[in-house]
């Protein structure tokens, strides 16, 4: 591999190392710029896999994580408001997982000190499902879940 690379470098002086890497298949186009995006975690299909990809073990149930302004029944699965608030001290990150979506992990928010451990956003849901909020606090993982019923699915259009 190395000798080949030198050869190409010599012959094709205009090629950057990056495009070379892309050509060699190390990087798919579109991946290079988002190095801080955890691709593996967003491709997982189960809770265990997701936790592994995020670098944690099985999270403990916690009553200190609450869903804020999140509906029990969502009429439109394409736009389901979800808010998660954590009352656990030293909350470092909040992740939102949707059990029955093609890929469970939906979003991960990193909460630096000084920012309130509460975020809200809107997500797509293919069908009625359990939604999990996973909170990392002081190196440990905690979770809470809520079932949201979807009247009209948000995937597949």
């Amino acid at each position: 591999m190395d000798s080949k690379r030198r050869e190409i470098l010599k012959t094709g002086g205009g090629l950057t190392l990056l495009s070379l890497a892309a050509a060699a298949g190390w990087l798919k186009p579109g991946d290079a710029h988002a190095a801080d995006w955890n691709k593996a975690a967003f491709e997982t299909k189960s809770m265990d896999e997701t936790m592994k990809a995020l670098g944690g073990g099985a999270p403990a149930q916690s009553m200190n994580i609450t869903f804020v302004s999140t509906p029990d029944i969502a009429e439109n699965g394409a736009v389901v408001p979800i808010g998660v608030a954590s009352a656990i001290p030293k909350t470092e990150s909040i992740a939102i997982l949707i059990e029955k979506n093609p890929n469970m992990l939906t979003a991960v928010f990193d909460i630096p000190p000084g920012t309130e451990p509460a975020v809200s956003t809107r997500v797509k849901m293919g069908q009625s499902s359990n939604v999990y909020a996973v909170v990392k606090a002081d190196g440990k993982y905690y979770m809470a879940s809520k079932e949201i019923k979807v009247t009209l699915g948000g995937c597949g259009g």
Partner: protein, 103 residues
């Protein structure tokens, strides 16, 4: 280049509440077009919010975040007239930064 974000930042007590509405297709990569061909995914992957050069929130998103994403959060501090900056990057390498004045 994508349309600008709508950002609203307001002081609430001793914190600043930030609400952002981004303009993005957020295509999942799961849908098919009329010919049955898969529409490639196109979605925002990373979002960063900064205040006074300090990151107050960073996020990684998958394609399951809704079209034209909404985000709200609060951080301690912040004064009227100061600026909050939001940047997103999508999986095509597109990037957009907008800022808003805290009101």
């Amino acid at each position: 280049m994508a349309d600008p974000m709508k950002i609203r930042a307001a002081v609430v007590g001793d914190s600043t509440e930030v609400k952002v509405l981004m303009s993005h297709e957020m295509e999942t990569g799961q849908r098919k077009d009329a010919q049955g061909k898969l529409i490639p995914g196109w979605f925002i992957q990373t979002v960063t919010a900064t205040y006074n050069g300090k990151t107050v929130l960073s996020a990684q998103w998958g394609p399951a975040v809704s079209k034209n994403p909404f985000l709200s959060f609060k951080f301690k501090g912040g004064a009227k007239g100061d600026k909050v900056q939001i940047t997103w990057t999508d999986n095509r390498g597109d990037k957009r930064t907008d800022e808003a004045t805290i009101g």
